[in-house]
């Protein structure tokens, strides 16, 4: 009896401390998320302020608190410069006690920040960078590559378009690492699917606005499909000029990395018929529609644009992160990452699993841009050609060969 009373007293004394102990597990009493994105350069429309908004929405929807402590969001513009990204990341980790850096959007900035985060045992959630190696030879223990990568784009568009009948290809490629690796990946896929690659033209980037010479070469090749292994402004100008020179609709354009904001900027009259692979489209189903309308109508969304897959993916990634923090009761990176990988993702964005290498494997979609007649309301741009299941959409863990994954 006395023993019982002792134990009970001890427990009563310890109970409030237990609460405090759990609270101490959230470092510095706050969960801080840093959105490091491109606000002023080539990627500002597909990520940028929209990414910050997506994260803020995720935090607000989560209730603004996790494990009893507040969540704070800070943001900065890395201007697409690896120096600024690296310095900001270091400062955020060392001085501002940021627990996770998200978005990053370009491969050069992601490549600079990931090692810094790993060294300091903080988490990076990538939504936007494309380099497949980020979950392969460059993988880190604290990184999640969430939304899409080069392999998914190459396989989605390459394989599925060949299956649709587009079996001869010519590439217009941006002459830098991203473009060349995308061309190489897609070439392999096209050949494996039974297609043929008739040639390619590499154009300087960025800064080149005239694609007529390269398009002429594509036209001369007679290929059924012109694969655009480029992105952003390059793709937009290529599509525009392909129409100008009468190349479409005789030949079909396949955009290897295209976002809905670019289709919007081009207009359907110019972009119709374009094939592209994305992870998300606002009009897929009721859940996506509901969330996207909230995003579009949010008072902080100045341009009233629909979310891109980068922005939607970021919302989902941050929500998944916060749920992991809640489940393990701490923001300790090892525990949180383990929980994120152990829990499947199930929301409007995806039904997916984050693998041991950090790659989030989920369904992707091959879309085709509608004609102006087929479009019934604003932003009604895509029709779904094929849903690509996660197992086919992303490379397997074995293919990725991340050194940290035990065999």
């Amino acid at each position: 009896m006395r023993r019982a009373i002792w134990i009970a007293t001890l427990m009563l004394l310890l109970a409030p401390n237990a609460g405090a102990l759990a609270a101490d597990k959230i470092s510095d009493g706050v969960v801080k998320i840093g959105v490091l994105t491109d606000m002023t350069g080539y990627y500002s429309d597909l990520a940028g302020p929209g990414s910050v908004l997506a994260v803020q929405m995720a935090v607000a929807d989560f209730g603004g608190k996790v494990a009893g402590k507040p969540i704070e969001v800070i943001s900065a513009d890395h201007q697409n410069k690896a120096d600024i990204a690296s310095n900001t990341a270091r400062k955020w980790f060392d001085e501002n006690k940021v627990d996770a850096i998200v978005d990053l959007v370009s491969s050069s900035t992601a490549g600079a920040v990931m090692p810094v985060a790993a060294e300091k045992k903080r988490i990076t959630l990538l939504s936007g960078p494309a380099t497949t190696k980020f979950t392969g030879e460059l993988c880190t223990a604290y990184n999640v590559h969430y939304t899409y990568n080069n392999w998914a784009l190459a396989n989605g568009t390459g394989r599925e378009v060949v299956k649709q009948g587009g079996d001869t290809w010519f590439f217009v490629t941006a002459d830098y690492v991203f473009g060349k690796s995308l061309e190489e990946d897609t070439t392999n896929v096209v050949k494996a699917a039974g297609g043929e690659v008739l040639g390619s033209a590499r154009h300087p980037s960025p800064g080149n606005t005239d694609f007529s010479s390269f398009l002429l070469q594509a036209q001369a090749s007679g290929a059924k499909v012109i694969g655009m292994a480029n992105a952003g402004g390059d793709t937009v100008n290529t599509v525009k000029q392909a129409k100008e020179f009468g190349i479409t609709p005789k030949q079909t354009l396949a955009g290897l990395l295209v976002f809905i904001t670019e289709v919007h900027a081009l207009g359907l009259a110019t972009a119709k018929g374009l094939y592209l692979t994305e992870a998300f489209y606002w009009d897929l189903n009721d859940d996506t529609r509901k969330w996207s309308k909230r995003f579009q109508e949010h008072p902080d969304n100045k341009k009233k644009a629909m979310p891109t897959m980068v922005q939607a993916g970021l919302y989902s990634a941050v929500t998944h992160y916060l749920e992991a923090v809640k489940a393990v009761g701490t923001d300790d990176s090892d525990a949180v990452i383990a929980k994120m990988k152990a829990t499947p993702v199930k929301d409007f964005f995806a039904n997916g699993v984050i693998g041991p290498d950090g790659l989030h494997r989920h369904d992707m979609y091959l879309f085709q841009v509608k004609t102006p007649e087929e479009s019934k309301y604003p932003w009604d741009y895509y029709k779904v050609v094929k849903k690509i299941p996660a197992a086919d959409a992303f490379p397997t863990v074995e293919m990725q060969k991340c050194p940290l994954v035990k065999k």
């Binding site: 500002s44 429309d45 154009h203 300087p204 080149n208 005239d210 007529s212 002429l216 402004g233 207009g267």
Partner: protein, 287 residues
């Protein structure tokens, strides 16, 4: 062989565009000794004004061809009056720095308002469609661009080299004091020169809008290429910039056919070579 002809024709088309852009720059440098770094940004402003005119005011391509250059020219006059004229007595380094700063301001401001995916400007109806030339399909609008660019270049050349106003401008470069002593309003002439030079950039912007996506950064790489053209041609020479512009277009076209990745850089290699052999450019005179 057919492919080569197609590339060369495209090269000529682009060349006429370069000629139009470098003309304004050459005039400004030749007559004012100002290195106008803002030329690319003002070209972008021209394209955006054309788009805004269509989108918000319903003003189409044809009136825009006159109104937009006027608007850009007025902007140029304002810049010259308030800022540039203070820099004339100084080394032209300062003019370059000031106009570089203006470029950043303009690009940043337009980016803030319009993002960077840009806007699409339609080809005017009368110029849609094209001609099948056998070795390639030539869009009608591109043919129009060549014709107009050459006309404008020739007209500008004629004004500067063959009219009284032009002779005043040329005199003003050589000896502004003496000219002023003759009773000519030299400061006004300088203002008008800058305004005219940037109006040409704005005009090029309107020409470009139907072909290239109208984005805030559309002029940023173009400006250093145009600089190289002007330097190769000779910084004060109008004939030089026209000929070099066309020539560069051809060289670029050839490079895009033979070794495309170098096509953006070939102009600089050519420039360095030319300057070493002919110090003042192909048609210029050493000042």
């Amino acid at each position: 062989m057919q492919a080569l002809f197609g590339q060369l024709l495209i090269g000529l088309i682009n060349g006429s565009f370069y000629a139009l852009l470098s003309l304004g720059l050459a005039i400004i440098f030749g007559l004012l000794n100002i290195v106008n770094f803002a030329h690319g940004a003002l070209y972008m402003v021209g394209a955006f004004l054309a788009w805004i005119a269509l989108d918000s005011l319903g003003i189409g391509y044809w009136p825009a061809m006159i109104l937009v250059p006027l608007a850009v020219g007025l902007l140029g006059v304002a810049i010259e009056r308030t800022m540039l004229r203070r820099l004339y007595p100084l080394d032209n380094l300062y003019g370059l720095l000031l106009t570089f700063g203006l470029t950043l301001i303009l690009e940043g401001a337009f980016h803030h308002k319009y993002g960077n995916s840009g806007n699409s400007y339609p080809v005017p109806e009368a110029l849609q469609g094209g001609f099948n030339l056998g070795f390639m399909y030539l869009p009608g609008y591109r043919g129009w661009v060549v014709v107009v660019s050459l006309l404008v270049c020739l007209a500008s050349w004629w004004v500067v080299e063959r009219t009284k106003l032009g002779s005043y401008l040329r005199a003003g470069t050589e000896n502004p004091r003496l000219l002023q002593a003759f009773g000519v309003n030299v400061p006004l002439m300088f203002t008008l020169t800058y305004g005219f030079g940037v109006a040409l950039a704005g005009f090029a912007g309107v020409m470009a809008a139907p072909i290239y996506q109208v984005t805030p950064l559309m002029g940023s790489h173009l400006v250093i290429v145009v600089f190289a053209v002007v330097v190769i041609g000779g910084m004060g020479s109008i004939v030089g910039s026209i000929v070099t512009g066309m020539g560069l277009g051809l060289v670029e076209g050839l490079t895009k056919y033979l070794y495309p990745p170098a096509s953006s850089t070939v102009v600089f290699a050519v420039m360095a070579l030319v300057l070493l052999v002919r110090p003042a450019g192909l048609f210029g005179r050493e000042r």
